[in-house]
Symmetry: C3
Subunit: 152 residues, 3 copies
């Protein structure tokens, strides 16, 4: 549980992943790859941030939201594989940023997720990433993050 201890040091405790609300599931494995569903900035069943980055939310709030989404990705991966130390590599992170008109710092927002992953996992946490803007996201969240990891 080395990674989980590091995550605790970074200020988060992994929780039981929320029960799926629909026909989709939060994480699934095929071969040695685990894919997550798009995760939003919820903690303890509540949205932590709402709105668009660049208008009612600042860049720093957007980054924090991306970090929380990354934690939630790890939560659902843990539910699938049992122990995050079984992650071989974080492969791919996609960060959708609910962007106010003219906001073009999606990569800085996405760094909230990327930096957290590298802080938690070290080299194992280095991943490829796409950061893109969107005009709207589910329930008006500022960020949605999905992840692909490989397992040992």
């Amino acid at each position: 549980m080395l990674v989980e201890e590091k995550i605790k040091e970074l200020g988060y405790e992994l929780k039981e992943a929320p029960k799926p609300l629909a026909s989709y599931i939060p994480a699934t494995r095929t071969g040695n790859l685990v894919f997550t569903a798009g995760q939003i900035p919820m903690m303890d069943g509540k949205l932590v941030y709402e709105g668009k980055v660049g208008s009612n939310l600042t860049l720093d709030e957007g980054k924090k939201a991306a970090e929380i989404c990354a934690v939630n990705c790890l939560n659902v991966i843990k539910s699938e594989i049992g122990n995050l130390d079984n992650i071989e590599k974080i492969i791919k992170v996609t960060v959708f940023v609910n962007s106010a008109e003219g906001f073009t710092d999606q990569p800085k927002v996405a760094n909230g997720a990327s930096d957290f992953l590298v802080n938690a996992f070290g080299e194992t946490g280095k991943h490829v990433r796409s950061a893109v803007g969107t005009n709207e996201l589910p329930v008006n969240v500022p960020v949605e993050v999905e992840m692909i990891v490989s397992v040992k």
Copy 2:
């Protein structure tokens, strides 16, 4: 052909996938994974829905559009693997929703695809999913869906 019979019960008949119009192809396989191109709500060569969900299209129309996109994903997967009963698992579904300003029910739209897949495939159809908003989509479709499945 058990899945195809179920799909027929759900009101759809799988057709020969449309010929690729460009340098891209509708589905491709690598190892035991099949990836589809983004599919739009066309039936019999005609667009069934056009426009943005939340303005000129209702939520229910958006859901129906997502369902048709999912059917088209299955069409192109069938062209690739021959028989949908060879699907081991629906792995990942990404749903892009052409969203009017202020429309934040992308997950409900995406349920049109997700529910259909679970109705057709049962447990095999349960997948991870991302639903995101976009300000514009190709030829003004309300929904575009792409899929990854694993085959037996």
Copy 3:
């Protein structure tokens, strides 16, 4: 180096991939799949195009931007696998198009990437593709492209 010669004929020289600016990396391999980070239309460290397709940029400029993004995907794949002739198949290309209101020709923009790949790789270059609109992209680029390829 057959593919690289073809790429040179098409007007591009592959360069050392830019050093990663953040916690993310430009390409990563898992099994025989290589994933790229989202690539933008930069050449020699400078943005070649900025703005939205359909307003300050024309369709042709958007296509050219998509082509440059595809070249950059190949650059980072080369850094990962050494020789582009080791590509077994271009699997998946995702093209995000920074779209002015009412611009719905994302597929034509994406053809800039797709046609280039097929010109460079022939059959090996045929891929599945999603083309979607976005309201904003990083540093105001018109196009962002990510790629998955399989290697021999």
